[in-house]
């Protein structure tokens, strides 16, 4: 049987012309790496600036006078309290306190701008339409591309196209013309570095991408390095570190529930989430540092020092900047304290590891 045809982003031809190695991801034919390779692309992003095509992600606008209040019925984040231009990371929850998706919400003034995961966008948008019908109007922005420019020199690069970009506060967004293209730019990302995400018309995406790649600091970066960068930053990958069965508290994402929402509730799964917030969850997402050099991959079983099974790794690999194996996973709460020694079952061999704080590499967000 033939494989279903993969979708292509507006930058597909550019990826091929840059010599990308392409893989299927969330139904899209995406660059996993370019000629430089994952290690070099990762290190380059931490040293200078990397350009990522994240056009596969879902973009939508939510409109209506009560859009923020309506969205709050589906997420535990404080959306009503977002000032114009501010953005927030939040979660679509289910009645069990599990996570349907994680997303970015920006208060754009006359609408909320939403960015959701590629692999979840159709479900997310259907979920939003079903539950917000009559209260807010969702418009899918399928004709827009999304670029991420990440790294310590990202601001200097973008300022050459629009000087005001350099002063944009972390976790905020604004309309900005870049090379004559009307863009919506946020200071955010998925690498732990300073950087921007740029939403723009699909038809102009290749032109802006080529323009940014002409800057000497900028290299194209594939999904391979995107994954190792976000793992070092301790950020969750949906479908791996969080899903419908992991509650907000188990996932250690209580920080996404602002004070007013804790007091007022009003989101799916609130009873379970607030109970776990008060008295603890059965298990918890933690950072795990394997001893030695051998990476422990997703699915690796974790045991206590005495050999009893206590958890499982949900993301694991090698951190190029951390210069060693790093992982995150879920552990029974009794074994989830920082510093707890563990064993990882890697190819039948018990390997020592311990619980460590995340991120593995310090965040370097722009703080003005």
């Amino acid at each position: 049987m033939a494989e279903p045809a993969l979708h292509r982003t507006p930058l597909h031809a550019l990826h091929l012309s840059l010599g990308a190695k392409m893989v299927a991801f969330a139904g899209y034919d995406m660059p996993v790496q370019y000629a430089a390779g994952i290690m070099a692309e990762h290190l380059h992003t931490r040293a200078k600036a990397g350009l990522f095509d994240v056009s596969h992600m879902g973009q939508a606008r939510l409109e209506g006078g009560e859009a923020a209040a309506a969205l709050e019925s589906l997420v535990p984040g404080d959306i009503k309290g977002l000032a114009v231009g501010r953005m927030r990371y939040t979660l679509l929850t289910n009645a069990q306190g599990g996570i349907l998706d994680d997303l970015m919400v920006t208060q754009a003034g006359d609408h909320l701008a939403l960015i959701v995961n590629a692999g979840r966008k159709h479900q997310d948008f259907a979920h939003l339409e079903r539950h917000l019908a009559g209260k807010a109007r969702l418009t899918r922005l399928a004709d827009r591309a999304l670029l991420a420019l990440q790294g310590p020199l990202a601001a200097a690069v973008l300022a050459r196209l629009a000087p005001s970009a350099a002063g944009l506060p972390f976790m905020s967004g604004t309309a900005l013309a870049l090379d004559g293209i009307d863009c919506f730019v946020t200071r955010s990302g998925y690498t732990g570095e300073d950087g921007f995400e740029i939403s723009l018309p699909a038809a102009a995406a290749e032109r802006l991408a080529r323009r940014l790649l002409r800057e000497p600091e900028v290299l194209p970066i594939g999904l391979g390095a995107r994954d190792s960068l976000r793992l070092e930053a301790g950020l969750c990958l949906y479908g791996h570190d969080i899903d419908e069965t992991t509650t907000v508290i188990e996932a250690d994402l209580a920080w996404t529930i602002q004070k007013r929402r804790r007091a007022e509730g009003g989101f799916p799964g609130v009873d379970i989430v607030l109970r776990e917030l008060a008295s603890g969850a059965r298990r918890r997402r933690v950072g795990i540092q394997p001893e030695g050099r051998a990476p422990a991959r997703e699915g690796t079983q974790i045991t206590a020092a005495d050999g009893a099974p206590v958890g499982r790794i949900t993301s694991g690999g090698f951190g190029p900047t951390a210069d060693g194996p790093i992982a995150m996973g879920y552990l029974d709460s009794a074994h989830a304290a920082l510093g707890t020694p563990l064993k990882l079952i890697v190819r039948g061999t018990l390997r020592p590891a311990r619980i460590v704080p995340m991120p593995f590499v310090p965040h370097r967000y722009y703080r003005g």
């Binding site: 994952i38 290690m39 391979g224 050099r293 051998a294 990476p295 991959r297 690999g317 090698f318 194996p325």
Partner: protein, 125 residues
Amino acid sequence: MSTVKYTRDHEWVRVEDDLAVVGITDYAQTQLGDVVYVELPEAGRRIEQGKEVAVVESVKAASEVYAPISGEVVAVNAALSGEPGKVNADPMGGGWFLKLRIADAKQLEGLMDEADYAAFVEGLH
């Protein structure tokens, strides 16, 4: 001149007297990307042709390395534990994995020579 043979799994084996030096090919290291860890067997282990004898890990994934022929492991490349990048930099030389005492030299006849392997790799594109 020593003989080098190749497998369809992209291992190479170079015969030196009654020993066989084993590694992965340049094509394999290119496909894997930057090698960050190599798990090697202990000396003395007997391994059968086609069975997993080592594991090579890149940033992204772990891949098995299979024994091109049967034999007893008599040495492993200890330098790879500190410098796994040798597998990328010099896959046919300093990036060798292990040495086997050859159990059955006839098995070598079933492997590809350099020209056959080059054609095989060409066919993968």
